[in-house]
Symmetry: C2
Subunit: 734 residues, 2 copies
């Protein structure tokens, strides 16, 4: 225990260090504010057939006046460089200094340095760089300093100003302020072209996103561009989901959708990126262009998680998953690149989990959690969806478990409290949640009727887990009162779950209870979650396998979204071989349909263009949807078998499972390292560059190891403690 | 009764008409949002010795995404012109339309027209103009439309979207959007110049505010400008409260305070207006200018209230009051033009009351009430001050009483509710308010010790009146439940006031109660307010006159702020002659000290530069402070004697009192008219262009009238019903 405690401390220090490396100045702001602002830029970029299409939930904004403060102790005067996004002042121990200086000589001594900034359009942010005084996460910030003075000039002594630690995101250059942030771009080429009707159809070879370029524009007239994730969509000018129209008058080009005009130049690059594989272009005869280019827009990410095996189809599934994941990993984790290009909590929750097995991009997880929560007052569920509120809670403890970053928990905890107050204000007399007016009870896009009335077992399971998360996070912030309160609420609700929803005859949790009466319908959702949340007795868990998960009369899941949890539940029940088959059928099925990224929804029984339709629109479906990428998570967590046991991988577990493969190898990222594994039917080779933990495996005869001592757990089950940095080779019998 | 009811209806219609004249398109926005945004522009304009000086309370911002909607029924297609501040889309019955058109052809039929706008920097606002479809206050707005669709494309049917009526402020030209709003300017000249030391001292002859202009700038070097409301301040370069520094390099001029650079031109006009009477300029030898100009910056207002009498000193007091009032009536009612240039609720409350007797500028009252309240969540008292929260409540019913505008009450009522929830969350076990950490208990700038501990009688009186206001406004919005709730709270608190604070020995309300123990100190504040709120028995009221108001051993008031209420209390007790003397002494005293506008604080016993000092700074005092202008309110309300009895002056009362004058004449504005009166020692001449009401007066013999019938009330007291539009002459005996 002591060892792992020291590890946590060490990792925490390391982590803090990587965020706020001593001696490095960075742009800072009120925590969450840059994220909310950037999220507005992201969420308001969606268009539908040339119309601007913002979200329908409340869009928050940053605090427009923020004070930044730092206690300074200087033995000699020090000149600082200051750059600010906004109008600002500088105070030394409350005394205002002249003007808005870009360089300022701090006197020797101990005093408070305050910089107060006003900015309506973008978040107030500062960059301060001196020999020792540098803006970083140790600065404090407030949106309300409440420092009045009385008639004599004396400051108030009963201030209750609430300070937070400043937020930052690695903007370490004074000339690279946060409001200027853009994703990276790189040119991408057309793979094939063909004349079609009056126009030209271009194929970029795979799903992509970026800024189209019109080169060598001449003449006068209109140019129409129709985008398609499929060939059918691009060619269906009346129904494709996204399009653009430009008019050229010989000297200027006007983007008719955005209402913006630009002077003509050699290369006109569009203002807004679009998602597509195909584009179809038509134009008036009097306007010409020499070529079409494209700048692929992406977030630079390191592919830290890897997977390879003897099955090329599975390798392809992994690759398409990682590409899908990369396309939807942008300023935030979004749902899909064509549609909605919005940040949805349920979708993002899965992206976080997948991200831990691929990029381990903690910054984008934090960005997304801040944005989704927004500001008080809470006026609705996150994205208006009840279940999405619960995923938001769950994501926070997950984040801590994978990263070990307890600082973030402290920062976000006040917003967790007010979000949970909102939820608790909407519970019924049984302490359960029901959809009230204004609540979207989503669950899943189901191919069949899904009752949303009364107390849904699915929502109660998520609610219960959210209350447990509140208690865990309260403990991490040393809030004993909240910890006890939420533990009591969670256990109170948990005790009600089985009496309320378990149907002994059907050996399953039923879908819902209406006016206190248990309904008879069984759906998969709550049963799946109850399995991996361990809310059932071992007997109930095993029953569910046959009564629900393998029961074809229970409505099937046709979204990768819920397939994610369904297959996870099966893995938790040890059904790796079966899950492997289902992965190859389902995701392999999409690839066989021509997918270059995974889809929002896939029903294997659909045919042809039926695959493209959704929401009553022929091309409504998104063909690049983050929740489609889940194989990379399943392969990392349940086949490579690696997951954190203690925060930030200070302890991990490795439980590899070939699931019918002959061999597999891969790596899973940890905060500052990686865990590598290679397994075939004879050997398991493991190396962790940080952390320690048990390798657990099955062997039909007594295994051997190159390092350490293997313990026998029970028949055929063994474990071996893996120490940081040491490569271990285990010989076992398959 | 029936007659006045009809009048209310008629006035209401007239009022609605003037706000949203049929057939006039106007810029619209989310109610309160433009006001909050403009308030940030205003409140963030303050500087102190060249440093930007924003407020210390929470600064809110507008909703950045707003949907505007209108139910349309057209018998034939209609083209509309559209202008929007922000990025926008158009929907017809939920169907998105292409682009951001500036002209759009609405089809015939019945449907919803929605325009959704995103704007981070300035409030989303739209202007729509067609033959019949025009943006106006009948449009609805929301910041959260919650209109999700399900997988089939069906819209949610349990939406609880909260809609408000759109806000507007008379921006009736498509080319004059709200974000471009500026006060008016007009050139103003220097009255005298003199060389002083190394520089030049300019006197503009009176307190003023505006943009200084440097003409014919040549050469290189620095120019320093020191502003003074007094000659002493301008010349004291080390301590004057405001200053500017410019550097000229032959081709450019740099404003060193704002950090902005401009090309040199014939006339350089400063970015920010400043308040001053005197300016002192010094400069380097190598830089020259040919002249100094100034653009006076002001809000165009009609001086609808008038007053003249036989006493020239009183006429001068009226004139300086109206000038003070005009200088501080800007985008909002502010405290003072030099300092703080901020919107403070206690100050604004008096400005509203004075405004009703001078400009009757209802728009600026509404602007100020919206801004002060800001957005939820409430994190502190308004301006952090407990008493200022209460004045905010009181101002709203006053507004209704003077204007008859019940629509505004409906709009602001939800924010009244959440503000009152904040207050109720901070009451003690007696249901009384005490200053908790973070609450500024202000009361007044007192020349002596003012205990702020425990339950202050002053705060309870304001709290009680605020609860009564909540009940009245709940009734106006047909919220019966709230009405009953707040009536019960108000009467509960009122019953506690006398037992808690009345000291039978001292015949006064004591200042406070600490830990349930009545303290012995008596101050004027609660006693004054209890008089005009009628919270006392007739005997107690009369006792207070001698035990408190005329008692020199009770700490004297030295701010015009509390003099306002003190003199109002004396008027309410019939002490007009005495108040007239005090007005002439106190405000006349400031004029004799050279005031061209009235001050933040005036202690007649101070001498020379002692008058300029405050907050421990030699020129800290504001010499143009709105709360200094109260004579115009006292003269209108208690001497001309005119006030509304029913909302919007549908019924008024006229109770003129010469207060020792030989004659007086004047007019008081009503929403759409005025009430004129002239009185001397023999005749009273009255004419109301709108409304009806009683003229009440004293006569030592039987009076006669030119119109109607005089009723005798009791000995020497008479009344006469005045009908709209009819001039009446009454002959009476003084």
């Amino acid at each position: 225990m002591k060892k792992s405690y020291l590890f946590i401390v060490a990792l925490f220090l390391l982590f803090q260090n990587s965020l706020f490396a001593s001696g490095t100045a960075t742009w800072i702001w009120y925590p969450g504010d840059y994220e909310i602002w950037l999220g507005n830029e992201m969420n308001n970029r969606r268009t539908e057939r040339g119309a601007f299409f913002p979200p329908f939930w409340k869009i928050d904004s940053h605090y427009v006046v923020v004070e930044f403060s730092k206690e300074v102790a200087l033995t000699e005067p020090e000149e600082i460089e200051i750059k600010v996004e906004g109008r600002y002042n500088i105070k030394l121990d409350g005394k205002l200094q002249f003007g808005m200086p870009e360089r300022f000589l701090l006197p020797a001594g101990k005093y408070s340095l305050n910089i107060k900034v006003w900015n309506q359009a973008t978040p107030p942010a500062i960059f301060v760089n001196g020999k020792t005084v540098k803006s970083d996460g140790t600065w404090k910030v407030t949106f309300e300093d409440k420092e009045w003075i009385d008639e004599s000039g004396k400051a108030s002594d009963t201030s209750t100003t609430f300070y937070m630690h400043a937020g930052s995101a690695g903007f370490n250059s004074i000339d690279n302020p946060p409001s200027a942030y853009k994703l990276a771009v790189t040119p991408q080429s057309v793979v094939s072209k063909e004349r079609y009707g009056e126009g030209e159809l271009l194929d970029f070879g795979k799903e992509t996103i970026g800024f189209l370029q019109l080169k060598g524009l001449r003449g006068k007239g209109n140019i129409h561009i129709f985008y398609g994730e499929s060939r059918e969509e691009a060619l269906d000018t009346a129904y494709c989901e996204t399009l653009d129209r430009f008019s050229v008058d010989g000297v200027r080009i006007r983007d008719e959708s955005l209402g913006l005009t630009y002077p003509l130049s050699d290369t006109f690059t569009m203002e807004n990126s679009k998602a597509f594989r195909y584009i179809y272009i038509t134009k008036d005869a009097d306007v010409t262009y020499s070529d079409i280019g494209m700048l692929y827009e992406y977030k630079p990410e390191e592919y830290r998680g890897t997977f390879r095996c003897n099955d090329e189809e599975l390798n392809r599934i992994w690759d398409v998953s990682t590409y899908t994941m990369h396309l939807t990993t942008r300023e935030f984790f979004i749902d899909g690149i064509k549609r909605d290009r919005w940040v949805w909590s349920g979708d993002a929750y899965q992206s976080y989990l997948m991200n831990y097995y691929l990029f381990f991009d903690s910054q984008t997880v934090r960005n997304t959690i801040w944005l989704l929560r927004g500001k008080d007052p809470v006026t609705s569920h996150i994205n208006t969806i009840m279940d999405y509120t619960f995923y938001w809670f769950l994501s926070i403890y997950d984040y801590y478990l994978f990263t070990g970053d307890s600082r973030f928990i402290s920062e976000i905890y006040p917003r967790m409290q007010s979000m949970m107050e909102f939820v608790l204000g909407r519970t019924n007399k049984n302490g359960m949640v029901e959809g009230l007016a204004g609540d979207w009870v989503f669950v899943d896009w189901a191919d069949g009727y899904l009752d949303k009335q009364g107390e849904l077992s699915f929502e109660q399971v998520l609610f219960c887990k959210s209350l447990e998360t509140m208690a865990l996070c309260a403990e991490l912030t040393n809030n004993e009162e909240d910890k006890v309160k939420y533990e009591e609420m969670a256990s109170g609700l948990r005790e009600k779950l089985i009496p309320a929803f378990w149907d002994e005859d059907q050996q399953a949790l039923v879908h819902n209870r209406v006016n206190g009466i248990q309904q008879s319908e069984v759906t998969r959702y709550s049963n799946m979650f109850a399995v991996f949340y361990d809310y059932l007795t071992p007997e109930q868990r095993q029953s569910i396998k046959n009564s629900v998960l393998f029961n074809d009369s229970v409505m099937k899941i046709t979204t990768p979204y819920m397939r994610f949890y369904e297959l996870e539940a099966l893995c938790a029940l040890g059904e790796h071989d079966r899950v492997m088959t289902e992965m190859k059928d389902y995701w392999g099925g999409m690839i066989r349909e021509g997918a270059t990224s995974f889809w929002e929804k896939y029903n294997p029984s659909d045919e042809g263009i039926e695959h493209l339709e959704m929401y009553g629109r022929p091309y409504g479906k998104s063909l690049c949807h983050s929740w489609g990428a889940s194989p990379l998570y399943l392969l990392g967590k349940y086949y490579l078998g690696i997951q954190p046991v203690k925060a930030g991988y200070s302890e991990f577990s490795i439980t590899p499972n070939l699931g019918g493969l002959k061999w597999m190898e891969g790596s899973v990222p940890t905060p500052n390292g990686e865990i590598k594994i290679r397994m075939d039917e004879k050997t398991i080779r493991v190396k962790a560059s940080e952390g320690n933990g048990y390798l657990t495996f099955v062997s039909k005869s007594k295994p051997t190891t190159s390092v350490g001592t293997i313990e026998k757990m029970d028949e055929n089950h063994y474990r071996l403690w893996i120490e940081e940095g040491k490569e271990v080779v285990v010989i076992y019998k398959f």
